[in-house]
Symmetry: C2
Subunit: 196 residues, 2 copies
């Protein structure tokens, strides 16, 4: 197993499940403000540039943002329903919102905004998610100009993996990938076969 072999396994799983709309759906667990676990479905928005960092779009008004500010650790559980593969990806999450001081990160946020559909983008203009619904209509009618840049509520999350547990229920194989950082600040991965 070479370095970041889990990324290749994940790319293979994405490819072999790509006929399913939900293949990009994964569950993100965080720690709630009251110290209990929190878990919800999010959409995989690709890897950040040439890294193994995972991109997720979200609304700054959702509870996960306040949770990640208190505790940036998260674990993704991603089950591929056609290939019977599970990835558990543990790492820390960087929150890139409109107020981020880093111009490069703001550029990444803008790229992720324009990479999503116009319908996805318009949701960031909807009423505050999670608050009581005062409107009878399920979906607000909002039109957004395609050239409009990221709305304030739009937020890019970057999860930097430090451990990945891979399970294949067809071949009955399980692998654990662990990262470490060398003295030269270079990240490297080891892999071990594990009992199911």
């Amino acid at each position: 197993m070479g370095s970041v072999a889990w990324k290749q396994l994940l790319l293979n799983a994405l490819e072999s499940n790509s006929h399913l709309n939900h293949s990009s759906f994964m569950q993100l667990a965080t720690i709630g403000a009251n110290g209990t676990p929190s878990n919800r479905t999010v959409v995989f928005r690709g890897f950040q540039d040439n890294t193994d960092n995972i991109q997720i779009n979200t609304d700054t008004r959702t509870r996960k943002i306040e949770e990640l500010k208190l505790c940036p650790s998260a674990e993704i559980c991603w089950y591929f329903t056609d290939s019977w593969e599970q990835f558990r990806i543990n790492g820390k999450v960087d929150i890139i919102d409109a107020l981020n001081p880093d111009p490069q990160k703001l550029q990444q946020r803008e790229n992720s905004w324009f990479a999503s559909s116009l319908r996805s983008r318009s949701q960031y203009l909807w009423p505050n998610p999670g608050l009581p619904c005062l409107n009878e209509k399920a979906e607000p009618e909002i039109s957004l100009d395609p050239s409009t840049g990221p709305i304030d509520a739009f937020c890019l999350l970057i999860l930097e993996p430090n451990q990945v547990d891979y399970l294949n229920l067809k071949s009955n194989q399980r692998l654990t990938f662990k990262s470490s950082v060398t003295v030269a600040a270079k990240k490297s991965w080891t892999v071990e076969r594990i009992n199911l």
Copy 2:
């Protein structure tokens, strides 16, 4: 919305997605021993008797057991891929292992053992899950007598929900169900419509 209306919504979702093998797969988030979130796919094993408590079978040797002993709070995220419905079910987990002092709980554990397939049962005789794999063969050859009662490693988890967040991505509806306990120790549920 009557009491425990979320249970009816869940039963409906199970019914309308029952043609999919993975419809009983859900993601269970717990808090890891190091304080970071932990997340994995588990199988829904039905409701406990006539309650709204959720049953899960697991192996006492898995990491989730030590995690749940430290912090019994958990959140299930259950996404139904055909009906586009998500249930986030937050609650506390009761661990029923072979050493449980309550005869009624031991009976429930035995019932859940015999309700699972012989193949599922034999997995509790496999080598310690999560430890390095010393055997070349992916799947150990173990035969288990169908009349054999629960193996020591077999454990029944009972999640008692206290809050349920329901999201329907077809109708764009979101509901939050919250439970409270009356002075007569009777559990009741309230429901509120929430912005997506």
